[in-house]
Symmetry: C2
């Protein structure tokens, strides 16, 4: 029986993933799905729930001791919070990856090498920092300009090295900004990219803290859940030891996002967006990528939406409650 563990399973992406696994039966029908997180939504996705702090001593050990076949490591302090609380960001975003990898290696060694789990890590396009080329390709350097990006990039290095040594079989997916996120705004500096679509669709005002010429890189939560299960299934030999992958997405400006909203929901929805510049968010977002050439991921079968309108439609289908 396949055992799937989702660390960070209570978060938005963890819940999307658990729903997706259950609805699509992406693993064997009798697969056991465990979710680990600080908290869970009341009406959560199907799975065995464990409430705990992955950053607490022994959490990684206890989870590894169950020897899950596939581990999705999604737990993270978001970018804005990692910038505000330096220690917390490094502790949660890097040192828990480190603890998890070592705990998995201990199980690998305890089984004389028989245990070698697939680890799928949610990395981020924040590993890249400006100045960029117009489109970032698969060989562009990681030069993060946020603590969050540095923590994700360092985690990728560890995951690649533990994999190269055969202790685990890891893969890191540099996810686009997920849009349209359901629910409430969060502390991520990228939160507004969803807010300016989600709030107007729900008849609420939304704040746009940056200029509408800002270009960014998006994929839907549904696409991200599919990236993750596709990565869990992938023949990692095809990665040729480059185990961090830029995921596909849609590159568009805020103005183009707003145009797509107008097409789908009309001018009344667009009128609910208020431009209130926020210098802190402007500064962070300035250091973020705008467009990618993702040949490697596409060759490996990862697929995103093909327009921002499609991204809005996914939100309406999956998360909108009129």
């Amino acid at each position: 029986m396949t055992h799937i563990l989702i660390i960070g399973g209570g978060g938005m992406l963890g819940q999307k993933l658990a729903h997706h696994i259950s609805a699509e039966q992406t693993f064997s029908p009798d697969a056991r799905v465990s979710l680990f997180d600080l908290s869970f939504p009341v009406e959560g996705a199907p799975g065995e729930i464990t409430v705990g702090d992955i950053a607490a001593p022994n959490s990684a050990k206890l989870l590894a001791a169950q020897r899950p076949d596939v581990i999705f490591h999604l737990a993270a302090i978001v970018s804005g919070q990692a910038e505000a609380d330096f220690d917390l960001g490094w502790d949660v975003n890097l040192m828990t990856t480190w603890a998890l990898l070592n705990a998995l290696r201990d199980e690998h060694n305890a089984t004389s090498g028989a245990y070698r789990p697939r680890l799928v890590f949610a990395s981020s396009i924040a590993v890249f920092g400006a100045p960029f080329p117009e489109r970032i390709d698969d060989e562009f350097l990681c030069a993060p300009l946020t603590s969050y990006g540095a923590q994700k990039a360092a985690s990728e290095l560890m995951i690649s090295d533990f994999s190269r040594k055969g202790y685990i079989d890891g893969i890191s997916l540099r996810l686009p900004t997920l849009c349209v996120r359901p629910g409430k705004a969060n502390a991520a500096a990228s939160s507004f990219f969803s807010g300016i679509i989600r709030e107007p669709l729900n008849g609420l005002e939304a704040v746009l803290p940056v200029d509408d010429t800002v270009r960014h890189w998006h994929a839907s939560p549904r696409a991200a859940a599919r990236f993750l299960t596709h990565a869990a299934d992938l023949d990692t030999k095809l990665l040729n030891d480059r185990r961090a992958l830029n995921m596909p997405g849609i590159s568009c400006t805020v103005a183009e996002q707003i145009e797509a909203l107008r097409t789908i929901a009309g001018q009344d929805a667009v009128n609910l967006i208020k431009h209130v510049p926020d210098p802190d968010i402007e500064r962070i977002v300035k250091g973020w990528p705008r467009d990618f050439q993702t040949d490697r991921a596409l060759e490996l079968g990862f697929r995103a939406e093909s327009s921002f309108e499609d991204i809005i439609r996914v939100y309406l289908e999956d998360d909108f409650r009129a």
Copy 2:
């Protein structure tokens, strides 16, 4: 009075650096130079010596508490050993960097931000992993294929982020393979690049474990000591938040190295080189860079030798004892 600390001051490069600082008075004439390492050569370079293990608890704290103005962090487990002893490599090559950065940040905070030392970190071209372009430029990705390379790359990320936040003022130099290393062969997989020159010059046999078509990237220990002092003095604003730099060097094949040896020391010296293929070393070296385009470093004033013959002459001037 400027206080200079060299962590790894007892090693080959640390000693070169201490001699260079003393001979050239690269800092103020009354600069205090402290050297910290597990052991030191009997006739060592001038400086205050402390014998200790940087990986021991409290070492980083005790060193940071002295609030040195400039810290050269050269302590490392070499590539071959980091490959053989996985735990030791990560502990020494990454986790001591982490402990050092946190200890320096504590001093920064204890002085309300007044203390912000220059940290010069000896990184390595091992942060790059094959496949490469013919020449690696300043924007090529880090995809290390050794634990040593991964540890150096992750250290760079930490140093950049602590610097971006203003806790330290760091810079990481990706040193070429240092050649010709004086003294004895060490456990580094790159040791033979020096051995095939050094041993014949001293009338000894040398083993060449790879094919002579292998191309690699070299600079002399003297050039490396100059890179380090140049970095200690550099206006880091010029780095535009990209604090890891590929250093200049000489790209040549083993055959070209041997040609240079023939020019300087004759056929008798060349006859002392025995080709004994070593599959382990061949495999590691295959993952290493061959050539670089180092525009950024050159613009910032870093200078290496201009031919491999010059590199041999530096060895004869600095280290050869007939």
